[in-house]
């Protein structure tokens, strides 16, 4: 009886979470005039998807999002890895240093976005993917540092000591032992950074232009004078969610996989 109640509760929770997503998927396949229909599936068409790529800049925005999300992760990860390692292993900066880094995450984005715009304008990087990559790398860096610090904390120092007595320098031990061992953690941090950037709206709205808009901005721009084109927006959302679904599969595998299994004990 308890199991039945438990499963019913779980099903209910799943339904609450999944129903809006399933409804969006359903709407994305409906012709625009039927998109608010109460019927489950009154018709089916791919027109919305085709229209997204033919009559809007969604394809360009999709590519922009991919470039910006991947680029910002590639730029931020090496810095995050080295800083996280220094915090974890050498206690660089002590607790104050750690929390100072974290404190930057506590500022509301709206407080940073205008100074960021002013900075980018000074160096001529507004309305450019490079500018977005730099800003996202900087904004995500504290978060990535904290995630990686946790992973590095979990790597036994014995491994580095063993490498050093085996003839490696401190850098050699980091490069040849710590980095490969913490690859799952670094990958997980990378995927999280990708997701954060992919979903971000405010910075993209302020710092990008029509050529450099990302997916969230492109979706917002589907609001026209005739109202929101909900079927097209739904199609855009379905496509926007796809990379996140793939990323979440990866992150699950990386996090579940043991970090240093077999190295000690």
């Amino acid at each position: 009886m308890r199991r039945v109640a438990l499963h019913f509760g779980l099903l209910l929770t799943c339904a609450v979470i999944l129903l809006p997503i399933l409804w969006v998927v359903r709407t994305s396949f409906l012709p625009e005039p039927l998109s608010y229909s109460p019927e489950l599936m009154p018709a089916a068409t791919l027109d919305n998807y085709v229209a997204l790529f033919t009559s809007t800049r969604y394809g360009q925005s999709y590519l922009n999002s991919l470039i910006v999300a991947l680029g910002s992760v590639v730029v931020a990860l090496p810095f995050a890895a080295m800083t996280g390692y220094a915090f974890a292993r050498f206690k660089t900066g002590g607790r104050t240093g750690r929390f100072a880094v974290l404190a930057t995450q506590m500022l509301p984005p709206v407080a940073i976005v205008l100074p960021a715009f002013a900075l980018l304008r000074t160096v001529g990087l507004t309305n450019s993917l490079t500018g977005l990559i730099i800003v996202y790398a900087a904004v995500n860096l504290p978060f990535l540092i904290w995630i990686l610090m946790g992973f590095f904390d979990g790597i036994p120092v014995d491994l580095e000591w063993a490498a050093q007595t085996d003839g490696a320098t401190a850098w050699g031990a980091f490069w040849r032992i710590v980095l490969p061992v913490s690859l799952p953690g670094i990958a997980a941090a990378g995927v999280l950074g990708f997701i954060l950037t992919w979903n971000e709206f405010l910075f993209a709205l302020v710092l990008s232009g029509p050529q450099t808009a990302t997916v969230p901005v492109a979706l917002a721009s589907l609001q026209t004078s005739n109202g929101v084109q909900i079927a097209k927006v739904s199609a855009g959302v379905v496509l926007a969610v796809l990379p996140l679904v793939i990323a979440s599969r990866f992150i699950q595998r990386f996090i579940v996989q043991g970090l240093t299994f077999g190295s000690v004990k």
């Binding site: 014995d158 085996d166 190295s263 000690v264 004990k265």
Partner: protein
């Protein structure tokens, strides 16, 4: 040259606490030395200082006569086997073993040859292409040893390498390590808190407590003549019996007197202990010096049985005697496997007082007496 000298070496932490305090020790070339002590006594820190993994706050550390205080670990040519084994999880057994040689720029052919040799020696040949995760605890331990051996270092530092193994495997590996030492002839410093390892493996034991090295000597010498009550109790299981008592003059001789205790001091110790006569002492006697059968010269005590532990080869009797001021003192006796007694019963035991010790209750140090090799009648 693989001698290791610690010349008044200390490790002082930023908070003012000493990890290691004024350790002065000379380890000869090819010697097998054991650092023994409870957790947190500084034995692993000392080992790491020798390896170069911990800085030295004061003193001088020399390896092969050369001061290495500021020499990084990679340039000391010392191999460390860690308690956790610290195998590189992303590398195969072969790559784990070859890593040190690769770091030193040794050619692939030589590395392969050395790995093959060490793997053969340690029975690891079938596992060379496996990752550490696919090995048992004992196999991982062997890989850690193999990684040390292939490098042909001047000395091996072993940090409790057997503590994660089960009892049977531990006994086997104990023997393997001793054989390996004989075969390689290299200096070995072995850290442990296991008294059996300490007694059976090393040429010398160095007993540490609270960062200091309190006694260094051959295992049987330290066992027979501990410098204080800590060493007396730490070096064996069951530990030495320590009974509060008083040393009194009796005619020409001396006697240790306490509640339920009256033991004449053997003639051989009379001169040494005469200056202590009239003082409170702690009377120390190992459990194997209590017997169930009387013999000439043995003193009798009556013991109330608290527990009997049958170990198969012998029986351990845990009992109580009155102790001074009526406070009961628990003592242990190693008796024959044929001896049994019900819990609560009072049984007579007979003391062979020749290996006895007297300790100062205030300082816990042993009152000096001539060194003694245990004499068995």
């Amino acid at each position: 040259m693989s001698s290791i000298e610690l010349d008044h070496v200390s490790k002082l932490y930023a908070n003012g606490a000493y990890g290691v305090r004024d350790v002065d020790l000379s380890i000869g070339e090819g010697e097998f030395v054991i650092f023994l002590g409870p957790s947190g006594c500084g034995k692993s820190t000392t080992l790491r200082m020798i390896a170069g993994l911990e800085g030295i706050s004061s003193g001088d550390l020399r390896i092969g006569g050369r001061s290495v205080n500021n020499v990084p670990p990679r340039d000391r040519n010392i191999a460390v086997v860690f308690q956790s084994y610290a195998l590189y999880p992303h590398m195969s057994v072969r790559d784990n073993m070859g890593f040190g040689l690769k770091m030193r720029g040794v050619g692939k052919a030589v590395i392969d040859e050395k790995i093959r040799e060490a793997a053969g020696l340690l029975g690891l040949t079938p596992y060379l292409d496996r990752k550490p995760a696919a090995l048992s605890g004992g196999q991982r331990q062997r890989v850690a040893l193999g990684r040390a051996i292939v490098r042909d270092p001047v000395a091996f530092l072993l940090d409790e390498p057997l503590s994660n193994l089960d009892a049977q495997l531990r006994a086997e590996m104990r023997l393997e390590l001793v054989k390996l030492h004989r075969r390689l002839g290299r200096t070995i410093v072995h850290v442990t808190h296991d008294q059996v390892e300490a007694m059976t493996m090393g040429d010398r034991i160095c007993i540490m407590r609270e960062g200091s090295m309190i006694q260094v000597g051959k295992p049987l010498e330290v066992y027979a003549d501990p410098v204080d009550t800590f060493v007396a109790r730490f070096l064996a299981t069951p530990p030495m019996n320590l009974i509060p008592a008083r040393l009194e003059g009796r005619g020409d001789g001396l006697a240790v007197v306490g509640d339920d205790l009256d033991v004449p001091v053997p003639d051989m110790h009379r001169t040494a202990y005469a200056p202590v006569a009239g003082r409170e002492v702690i009377f120390g006697l190992r459990p194997e010096d209590l017997h169930e059968a009387p013999q000439p010269g043995f003193a009798r005590i009556d013991v109330t049985v608290v527990a009997m532990e049958a170990l198969g080869v012998e029986n351990i009797l845990v009992g109580q005697i009155g102790g001074e001021g009526g406070k009961p003192v628990e003592i242990a006796a190693r008796l024959s496997r044929h001896f049994t007694a019900p819990v609560g019963a009072s049984v007579p035991l007979y003391l062979d007082a020749r290996p006895m010790h007297l300790f100062d209750p205030e300082t816990t140090r042993a009152f000096p007496r001539p060194a003694l090799r245990i004499v068995r009648s």
